[in-house]
């Protein structure tokens, strides 16, 4: 008799799972298990501190780059601005931020001018090398300054081009490789935006 109740309970649970919302189908690389995103405080484009853990309730989308980046960074930010437009009202739950890998050249004013050209809501974050180092390590960001003696740029920054999505609870959930289709990023961010915070 006791066995039957277990079986019944199992069936009820199965049915409940079936009825409830099925696991969201993300298109980017899902990090499982989702772990709290490494917390940091950087300075935003207004000169104000930006602390990741204080953004709970918002989906935070991070991209690591620099303003003199020739064309990959603008491509990623332009894609994210299209994503924001596509998201419509859901975009209000999303904060996109560029983290500068070139704090030497990227002042707050420079970052403001750069990011707001893509979307007035985008943030540009900077911090000195000591502040950046553990962040880059934690998110697996590759960044290396290269001297360019034959270029007026003086130096460039070789860097990885992933886009990171941190959910409303502060968990790092999704990683998008460079060149992920705008529709895929939009679909995933919409799912995250509609989750309870």
């Amino acid at each position: 008799m006791k066995q039957y109740s277990f079986i019944l309970l199992g069936m009820v649970l199965l049915m409940l799972t079936a009825c409830g919302p099925s696991a969201p189908q993300f298109r980017g690389t899902v990090l499982e298990p989702a772990e709290p995103a490494f917390d940091f405080t950087l300075i935003d484009e207004q000169g104000q501190p930006f602390t990741l853990s204080e953004q709970k309730g918002q989906v935070v989308v991070l991209f690591f780059g620099f303003t003199m980046c020739p064309d990959i960074c603008p491509a990623a930010l332009a894609d994210l601005s299209v994503v924001s437009r596509e998201l419509g009202a859901d975009a209000e739950a999303i904060q996109v931020a560029l983290v500068s890998l070139d704090p030497e050249r990227d002042t707050s004013e420079r970052l403001q001018q750069y990011v707001t050209a893509f979307d007035p809501r985008f943030k540009g974050l900077r911090g000195d090398e000591a502040t950046l180092a553990p962040i880059l390590k934690s998110y697996g960001v590759y960044s290396e300054q290269r001297e360019l003696p034959n270029s007026a740029m003086g130096y460039t920054i070789d860097h990885s081009g992933f886009i990171y999505a941190i959910d409303k609870a502060g968990n790092w959930r999704i990683l998008f490789a460079h060149g992920t289709a705008v529709e895929d990023i939009t679909a995933d961010l919409r799912l995250l935006a509609r989750e309870g915070g």
Partner: protein
């Protein structure tokens, strides 16, 4: 006899006129530019905005960061606005040609760059020239070869047309009009 001479004269002057007309001077943005065996299409430049760029001095105090041509451990380096230009260059000739340089009045320095992408890491490098293969084409595109405008001197607004002079090893100079737009 007189008629024949006039016909010949007419033919000669037509030829001269045609020769002048064929010189690759300026071409409209949409029409392909022809410089010998080369045809350039879809030339475009990303918009660039000079607003709020610290051009001289620095409101942030004595740090010296962010000023143009600041002297740091990197010597005199640029910290100006940059933007990039792209196009498709087709070569119908039987010899390869090489894009050597680009010039335009929107930036202090213009270089040819390439982006190498390995394992999702981007590495931008200047290149001396960009090959346009014989009977083929090369595409300057985001994430690959591009014309890099360094220290942009004015706002480059969406919808504008920027005259760019390209120098090729064989074809010489070719002018194109690049449309300013987002990708």
């Amino acid at each position: 006899m007189r008629n024949t001479i006039s016909v010949i004269l007419l033919a000669i002057s037509s030829l001269i006129l045609a020769a002048c007309g064929a010189a690759p001077t300026t071409t409209p943005a949409v029409a392909p530019a022809t410089g010998m065996a080369l045809e350039i299409r879809d030339a475009w430049v990303r918009p660039a905005n000079m607003a709020a760029m610290p051009m001289e001095g620095n409101a942030q105090g004595g740090s010296g960061h962010g000023t143009m041509d600041q002297t740091t451990e990197h010597g005199s380096m640029s910290a100006g606005t940059t933007t990039a230009g792209y196009m498709v260059i087709k070569n119908s000739g039987s010899e390869p040609d090489y894009l050597l340089a680009a010039a335009a009045d929107i930036a202090e320095t213009i270089e040819l760059h390439n982006v190498l992408m390995e394992d999702n890491v981007m590495r931008m490098r200047p290149v001396e020239k960009i090959e346009v293969p014989a009977g083929g084409e090369v595409e300057l595109r985001p994430g690959g070869f591009h014309v890099m405008f360094i220290d942009v001197t004015r706002d480059v607004k969406e919808g504008e047309s920027i005259p760019v002079t390209l120098t090729f090893e064989r074809a010489g100079t070719v002018e194109v009009n690049a449309v300013v737009r987002q990708p």
